[in-house]
Amino acid sequence: MRSRSAACLLLIAFATPVFADAVKWDVSRTTAPDSVEELKALQATVKNMVEKTTPATVAIRYEVGAGSGVIVSDDGLVLTAAHVVSRRGNTGKQSNRAILQLADGSTIRALVLGRNSRMDSAMLKITDKVPKNAKWPGASEGKWPHVELGKSADLKKGQWVVALGHPGGPKKDRRAPVRLGQMVKVTETGSRIASDCTLVGGDSGGPLFDLNGKLLGIHSSIGNDLTQNFHVPINNYEKEWERLRRGDTIGARADGWIGLTLAGNDDRDKNSKELPRSEAKPLIEAVTKGSPAESAGLKAGDLILEFKGEKVNTSEDIDQMLGGSKPGDILLVKVRRGDDLYEFEVTLDKRK
């Protein structure tokens, strides 16, 4: 007995200094590991955050499609991409019901709350109760597994990140596959960020994490190159949090329809000369035929100065003000046309 305990003590004595000197991975680091020890530290950090974040990563079934999502509060708020929970083709009445699949394979119901289809952001709320046999921490108190929000505005190019999600839709016996990469494009303006964590159909709506397991973005789209994987930055969700939560339809699919195409575009790349909507002056590029804007008398080339009686500076200001509006709402729009100022009364309609 005595000799065995002595052996144990000896082991601990030798083991301790090794742990004290162990190389740690700095999660804000923007360069590749330089040594095997650093690579091992990166591996340990990734494995730890993957175990933490996988239970909150879900698959989402909506109508005929499948995407991904992530739970962000203990009462079951879920973030995803708007196109995951929107009807294709932009027609007909949209369902607000979705089925979520948890990491353990069990399925629960959720209600779609708000959507911003221009930003490609959406929020859902789990409507089922936490199952009695659930194993995650807090389950016995009726809490859902969830992740914390990070600060996407502080992201640095080259920072190491992990993508989870369900490529190809959820597969039997497959946990959300882990993709490791670095930030390729970061932005403070709120347009899409990009990483070289590879994504494909089914990943949409899934989470991008920093190596602490904090949520940085939601997967949205891809380009041809393996470094072109685009995510909606999380601070865009935070900006519209209350509106998403109360169920507003924001952006292109807003309930109140005006029928204007404004300058600025966020779906752009380096080659585009267009400014993002948050910077572009609200110049009317086109007026849709048969739209409320046309009947009111607005014309392409008009620069909007005031909208709903408020001064506006960018196209995004108007996107924001249209969100949550209803068909039948009457708006006052002041524009500059050439050297003249005009004021129009526009009655919003239903999107056709």
Partner: protein
């Protein structure tokens, strides 16, 4: 090139940059950090060449010259090059279709076989690399998901790079033969439509093979790749008359990516293995590897060999066959249970 929403495909109407987006290439620089961990496995990796071209990597599984590789990449005259630069003619001993493992034999007697570890060692988050025959591995990445069986579409063996006619077979007339159904919007670029094969035409022969049912069609197309020209004989009934004529067409086959959304997305950014489905079970990695670099071992940071890299399976994944699948198949292959027909 268009940016693609990850569920619905939407052409956003702009041309994304062709140039690299930045100088971020951290993942590329990980391979050299595996030089030590992969050293032993590298000594057990061979380059497999077919008719003088790199076709695959191979994994030494027996000191007496047995090598496992990706069978579907093999053709013609097979040679094997070792780490030390020596080259051998290889005998193609056996092929197991379910796993896509091909067994080669070379006249060498002191090779170092790999020691596979159990599949459960390959945990999600482990860093891994694929050794080649140089000291630096050919690719590195992470285990994305542990070993799992494949079901549904993923579990079916097919030629992922086969040629397509771009038709939908009219199911209502299945009993009478293979009739061309209506061309849908997705088939606007259909090769058959371009060749002026019409809806209602019956396909009688394809490459002189008689076509009676859908499976006959699939069998012929499986042997062809996009760009191949095939001869199609169709029977056409003239409108408002009983005249039936037989017409011959030459169709340049298209690729699955033209007609299938997920195929299209999966092919964005990298080249995929032709055979990339129907394996019994696989470990999923995010390693980006060339199809011609499949067939070799995969190692982790402790130098453990977690399996054989069997396919570049999609934009986000490359797949590894685990020990549990390899060992019984290897025993059967050595026992000559799946001999390769001499051509």
């Amino acid at each position: 090139m268009t940016r693609i929403l990850l569920i619905a495909i939407v052409a956003c109407g702009f041309a994304p940059a062709a140039q690299a987006q930045g100088d971020v290439n951290g993942k590329m620089s990980l391979t050299k950090l595996f030089n030590d961990a992969a050293a032993i496995a590298t000594g057990s990796t061979v380059r497999v060449r077919c008719d003088g071209r790199d076709a695959a990597l191979g994994t030494v599984v027996d000191s007496k010259g047995y090598i496992l590789t990706k069978g579907s990449e093999l053709h013609g005259n097979i040679t094997v090059r070792l780490r030390d630069g020596s080259a051998y003619d290889a005998e193609y001993v056996g092929y197991h279709e379910g796993s896509d493992l091909g067994l080669l034999k070379i006249d060498a007697f002191d090779l170092a076989p790999v020691n596979f570890v159990a599949a459960k060692v390959a945990e999600a988050g482990n860093m891994v690399a694929a050794p080649g025959i140089e000291s630096e591995p050919v690719a590195a990445g992470i285990i994305s998901a542990g070993n799992r069986k494949l079901y549904g579409e993923e579990g079916v063996i097919r030629n992922g790079n086969k040629g397509y006619l771009g038709i939908i077979v009219d199911r209502s007339r299945e009993k009478d033969g293979v009739f061309v159904g209506e061309y849908t919007k997705e088939q606007s670029s259909s090769p058959a439509k371009k060749a002026k094969i019409l809806m209602g035409d019956q396909i009688v022969t394809l490459q002189e093979k008689s076509i009676k049912k859908f499976e006959d069609l699939a069998e012929v197309l499986n042997k062809h790749k996009p760009g191949d020209k095939v001869k199609v004989l169709v029977r056409r009934r003239e409108k408002d008359s009983d005249t039936v004529e037989e017409l011959s067409f030459e169709v340049k086959l298209g690729s699955g990516a033209q007609f299938n959304r997920s195929e299209f997305q999966n092919r964005m950014g990298s080249q995929l293995s032709g055979r990339r489905s129907g394996f019994p079970s696989v470990i999923t990695t995010d390693v980006v590897i060339k199809p011609s670099d499949c067939g070799g071992p995969l190692v982790d940071l402790d130098g453990r060999v977690v399996g054989i890299m069997i396919a570049r399976a999609g934009r986000v994944e490359s797949w590894v066959l685990p020990k549990e699948e390899i060992q019984p198949i290897l025993a059967d292959l050595k026992a000559n249970k799946y001999p390769v027909k001499k051509q």
